[in-house]
């Protein structure tokens, strides 16, 4: 199952100013992985995601994409790497002045020479994939939060990216939509071979789709576990990891008085 290394993180420290959020992160995401970044609130999951997608520079260390160090390479190479990304932001981050169709069409217009009619077809396809067929001419303000998220996913998939990043994809979705999203993520990986990196707390999703993960521990400020979450649940001895994966049922008392 394990493909070639797609993302390699080496000795990464991250923080804001002099404040260190996480230190010494080392992990590899292989091609075709569904990789979960998990950890308690405020541990730096979203910050790590920002570093991986090129929005924030790490304090130290490297992020390698197929051998090229993202933060040390030249801007052209960095842009080439970023073209391989599709990103679903926490709230969808749709451009509010554009319709859903225009939102999805923009990456296609920017990076391809497709004709307007071809772009329209692709837009309709992507919207159908996320269950929003017929919503082409709606503005983001006219649809619900869950729909915005799905439209954001359609935009993230516009260019059939090699690597998809998801920031809390299930947050704010009803259980059925959440399940459908999990199915879609699995389908994307199986049919397109995409590598998928997800920041989430949603245990049901984690166990249903992930084959690799890291756990960021807020107390020790580093990653304390990595690997298949199902294996971690079965084998990990780390109390904080067990506590997280069992919703507090194991891994020590909830009471710390």
């Amino acid at each position: 199952m394990a493909g070639k290394p797609e993302i390699t993180v080496k000795n990464l420290d991250m923080g804001y100013g002099s404040f260190v959020l996480m230190r010494d992160l080392n992990f590899t995401v292989n091609r075709g992985d569904i990789f979960i970044i998990m950890g308690g609130s405020g541990c730096g999951k979203s910050t790590l995601l920002k570093i991986l997608i090129g929005l924030k520079e790490p304090s130290r260390g490297q992020v390698l994409y197929g051998g090229a160090s993202f933060w040390e390479t030249d801007p052209d190479e960095r842009e080439r790497i970023m073209k391989r990304f599709g990103i679903l932001y926490q709230q969808g981050a749709l451009w509010s002045s554009m319709t859903l169709a225009e939102n999805i069409a923009l990456p296609l217009e920017h990076y391809t020479d497709l004709s307007p009619s071809q772009i329209r077809e692709i837009v309709s396809l992507k919207l159908s994939l996320v269950g929003l067929a017929g919503f082409e001419d709606f503005y983001p303000s006219e649809i619900s939060g869950g729909m915005r998220k799905r439209a954001g996913l359609a935009r993230a998939m516009a260019l059939d990216p090699d690597i998809l990043f998801f920031d809390e994809p299930s947050a704010g979705l009803d259980p059925i939509s959440s399940r459908l999203l999990d199915d879609l993520i699995l389908e994307l990986r199986n049919s397109l071979g995409s590598t998928i990196v997800i920041v989430t707390h949603e245990l049901a999703s984690i166990f249903a789709i992930a084959n690799n993960s890291i756990y960021l521990d807020v107390e020790s400020r580093t990653m304390t576990a990595s690997g298949d979450p199902k294996k971690l649940l079965a084998e990990s001895k780390d109390p904080t990891v067990r506590k997280f994966l069992t919703r507090g049922a194991e891994g020590g008392e909830m009471e710390t008085s």
Binding site: A93, H110, E255, S257
Partner: protein, 382 residues
């Protein structure tokens, strides 16, 4: 006051057993809003006299309770754990026991509490100087980036949506006409009145036309339009971009490899640079109309006479200086609005701050630019 004291004392009493157990008896209503005893009394009781090994509660006469009781219990619990005294919560109501357990279920995270440090004066001055340096560098690099982006636009390599530009042209132009009309006519009237009072003393009423025409066309029309656009459009730009920053829309553009400078700032800059001179000409005309109302209505000047005088007072240089002012103000308002919007942090209050800051920056830069242009015109003798 005395009644209150009595009622507080009635709520709390102590009983100490010879085995070293202090029983705290709680009575009456322990609800927020009622006068409640302080936990300091427990502290006094525990530290004075014989050593207390355990603390227990008797709540048989406790009638009602809420968070008022819980805050008291938490303090007692903290004091007991500090002094290694065993706390026996069995005597408490079951609900209070549960909430007390819940309140201490998750220990306070190390380093989570903010320390309030009083910075020395010199350190504050230093921090402010560093912040000023940082914001100046940020502003200069933003202007530099905007210049590069504008150059890219001139050679046809900038990416932005034409429909966005047309919408912005409409927003900055046609939709601003009502407010520009009102302010410009009033400004013309004011200039006319002020001039009329002074000039009437010398019997030179006719020169009101000169005062209004030169004043409006050379500088006042451009300044007023600039200030209106700073308050109306500059603030709107900052709020729009600030909200986009909050909603991660700008991040989405960046990660897609689309420059926010080209996609968002450039069309706004172009729209204002095109529309400001047009609005300025419109404002000049309405200002002259305002002056004409004063001249014809109050000073009994003839309509044709006033218009002829206006035409004689004006020349192309004056008109050109006014247009130059307005084009510069267009750039300044667009840059200030966009800069503050792009600098916006991720909160609702930050969007408000960005809008306010955009207006202040625009108006200050308009006044400074006017001073510079006036000085240069003076040196050039125009």
């Amino acid at each position: 006051m005395t009644n209150e004291k009595v009622s507080i004392e009635n709520k709390l009493s102590f009983f100490q057993s010879p085995e070293g157990t202090l029983i705290i008896q709680l009575r009456g209503d322990w609800k927020i809003g009622n006068p409640l005893p302080s936990a300091d009394e427990i502290e006094k009781k525990l530290t004075a006299g014989a050593r207390v090994e355990r603390v227990g509660f008797d709540t048989r006469e406790l009638k009602a309770w809420d968070s008022g009781l819980l805050t008291f219990l938490i303090k007692v619990k903290e004091f007991c754990s500090q002094n290694k005294i065993q706390l026996e919560a069995e005597g408490l109501p079951e609900g209070a026991r549960g909430l007390l357990k819940l309140a201490s279920a998750v220990a306070e995270r190390k380093g989570a509490r903010k320390e309030i440090k009083r910075e020395p004066f010199l350190s504050l001055v230093g921090a402010m100087a560093i912040e000023f340096y940082r914001s100046t560098i940020e502003m200069i690099s933003f202007i530099g980036e905007a210049t590069i982006t504008f150059t890219k636009f001139l050679v046809g390599k900038a990416t932005f949506r034409r429909t966005d530009l047309f919408l912005l042209l409409q927003e900055c132009g046609a939709q601003a006409l009502p407010v520009v009309s009102l302010i410009s006519i009033l400004l013309g009237l004011i200039l006319g009145f002020v001039g009329a009072i002074q000039l009437k003393m010398f019997g030179a009423q006719l020169f009101v036309a000169d005062v209004v025409a030169i004043g409006m066309v050379r500088v006042m029309g451009a300044i007023m339009t600039g200030i209106i656009m700073a308050g109306r459009t500059g603030a709107a730009f900052a709020a729009q971009l600030g909200t986009m920053e909050v909603n991660e829309e700008i991040d989405a553009l960046k990660t897609l490899g689309i420059s926010p400078m080209e996609f968002l700032v450039l069309p706004r800059m172009i729209a204002l640079v095109i529309m400001m001179p047009l609005l300025c000409v419109y404002s000049d005309l309405l200002g002259i109309l305002g002056g004409l109302i004063v001249g014809v209505g109050m000073l009994d000047l003839g309509l044709i006479e006033y218009l002829n005088r206006t035409r004689e007072a004006l020349n192309l240089t004056t008109f050109g200086i006014g247009l130059f002012h307005s084009a510069v103000f267009g750039v300044l308002v667009a840059l200030s609005g966009c800069l503050r919007g792009m600098q916006c942090e991720r909160s609702a209050s930050a969007v408000g701050y960005a809008a306010t800051s955009a207006v202040v920056t625009s108006i200050v830069s308009i006044i400074v630019a006017t001073a510079v242009i006036t000085f240069v015109c003076q040196v050039l003798g125009i």
